[in-house]
């Protein structure tokens, strides 16, 4: 009864997790110890090496959710639906972390925890969309409807995100032009290498998390379905006898 796909996942899961851990540890070493402090921001610039990869991974997670939703509407595979559900939860987690680390970085550099920067606005809206998606899923009883409605929500949100970003950017430049810039953060090799390694590590970690979470949701559904069937079976045999 177990889906073949899950077994195939099981085989590579450990390797991907180990690779993710290695990349993250190497990235931490590069970011925290090896790379030089920034000329203007000093040591605080090191927050970038965790903040930017978190944000990229959140977008990757939403991208996975978007593509997975299209795939689900096309093939109607329950496992793909579970994967979308898993990706939405991970999107929310990474988005929250990106927002928190962003706020911690903004305080010493821009002297404020929060500003209406287009990227921040887009990420806040992304968090709202992802949590709306998760809420929506808890409010639908029928599993088939749940998958369909959630996929519709994810697709509309995915199409909306770039529009949100551009409108927030125009809005921002209208009201406070150029108050915030990445002054002094030149994208040299010193910065790019830890960023790339951390991004790679977190992307691998995302894949690892996606596998575990998909597995978790799939098994939860399986257990519930089986329990329900066993119950109805017991009920049937009881009433017929």
């Amino acid at each position: 009864m177990m889906n073949r796909f899950i077994r195939r996942i099981q085989r590579f899961k450990g390797w991907i997790g180990a690779a993710a851990a290695l990349c993250i540890f190497y990235g931490l070493y590069l970011g925290l110890l090896d790379s030089p402090p920034d000329y203007y921001q000093g040591e605080v610039v090191r927050i970038m090496y965790v903040h930017v990869p978190l944000a990229h991974t959140a977008l990757l997670a939403y991208g996975t959710l978007f593509v997975g939703s299209l795939w689900y509407l096309w093939k109607r595979d329950v496992l793909v639906d579970n994967m979308c559900h898993a990706a939405a939860g991970i999107t929310a987690a990474f988005t929250i972390l990106a927002l928190i680390t962003g706020a911690i970085w903004a305080k010493p550099t821009w002297n404020t925890w929060w500003t209406w920067d287009p990227k921040l606005v887009s990420f806040a809206v992304l968090l709202l969309i992802a949590s709306g998606y998760l809420m929506l899923r808890t409010f639908v009883e029928d599993p088939d409807k749940e998958g369909r409605y959630a996929a519709v929500m994810a697709i509309v949100g995915g199409i909306d995100l770039p529009i949100i970003y551009f409108s927030a950017e125009w809005w921002r430049t209208l009201h406070q032009p150029l108050s915030i810039s990445m002054r002094g953060v030149s994208m040299s090799g010193d910065i790019l290498l830890p960023l790339a390694i951390m991004s790679l590590g977190l992307n691998l970690l995302f894949i690892y998390m996606l596998m575990i979470r998909t597995q978790m949701l799939y098994l939860t559904n399986l257990l519930e379905a089986k329990k329900g069937r066993l119950l109805s079976h017991a009920h049937l045999s009881h009433t017929s006898s």
Binding site: L136, E141, K145, R148, V152, I155, V156, I163, W171
Partner: protein, 225 residues
């Protein structure tokens, strides 16, 4: 069943039932009046402050009343299980969507046109020159709102906690409409040259086209038994 006939019928059906009950329009209107009153009390505005905030206030009240109308649009179909007939009907679902969307657009526009004179009156606005442009902005923004809103109204009406879920799902997605509508309205009310805020009108148009098409395509999946 011919496609445009279905659209016509759905719009006609909504208009007739609204004319008989006057439920949606009256609740939207009263809610909007309350919102305007609350705003004017809570800000205690003088003339200058009103000029600064008025575009935002107009759109906050329009969007919240719009959500009331959108929620009513499909929850009215729950009576006598009318929604199941919509689900089972052989009519193309896209046509039902367009009919519902046009109906919502009409209701919202009617309320907006009735409310706008009140804003002009209460906040001493000067709109005579730009009235055509303002109407265009209202139309485009409301179209965008009802394009996404109709889809989510049909979606949330079939789940639990529907009154909460409609704004929770709709408002984040409507952020671009809100920003563009507020900025364009502000530009028009302040009498700025069109060049300065024409990009917002373009953004609204793009949003309308994209989400009418996307919702039209996705509506099949929502209204499916």
């Amino acid at each position: 069943m011919p496609f445009f006939r279905v659209i016509q019928w759905v719009v006609w059906k909504d208009l007739i039932s609204e004319l008989r009950s006057r439920e949606t329009l009256s609740s939207m209107l009263f809610f909007a009046l309350i919102v305007i009153l609350v705003f004017s009390f809570s800000f205690a505005m003088d003339q200058d402050a009103a000029q600064q905030l008025i575009a935002g206030i107009i759109w906050v009240s329009f969007v919240f009343t719009g959500i009331i109308g959108l929620g009513k649009s499909f929850s009215a179909e729950l009576q006598n299980d009318a929604i199941e007939y919509l689900q089972m009907s052989p009519a193309p679902k896209g046509a039902i969507y367009l009919g519902k969307m046009i109906g919502n657009l009409l209701f919202m526009l009617v309320v907006e046109i009735m409310l706008f004179p009140l804003f002009v009156l209460f906040f001493n606005l000067d709109i005579v020159e730009e009235i055509g442009l303002l109407l265009l902005i209202f139309f485009l923004a409301t179209l965008g709102l009802s394009a996404v809103g109709t889809l989510f109204s049909a979606l949330t009406v079939q789940i639990r906690a529907r009154e909460v879920m409609l704004p929770v799902l709709l408002l984040p997605l409507a952020v671009p409409v809100m920003i563009a509508a507020v900025e364009a309205t502000r530009g028009a009310l302040e009498g700025q040259p069109l060049v300065i805020y024409s990009q917002w009108i373009e953004l609204l148009t793009i949003f309308d086209i994209i989400f009418t098409v996307v919702s039209f395509w996705l509506f099949d999946l929502i209204l499916d038994s």
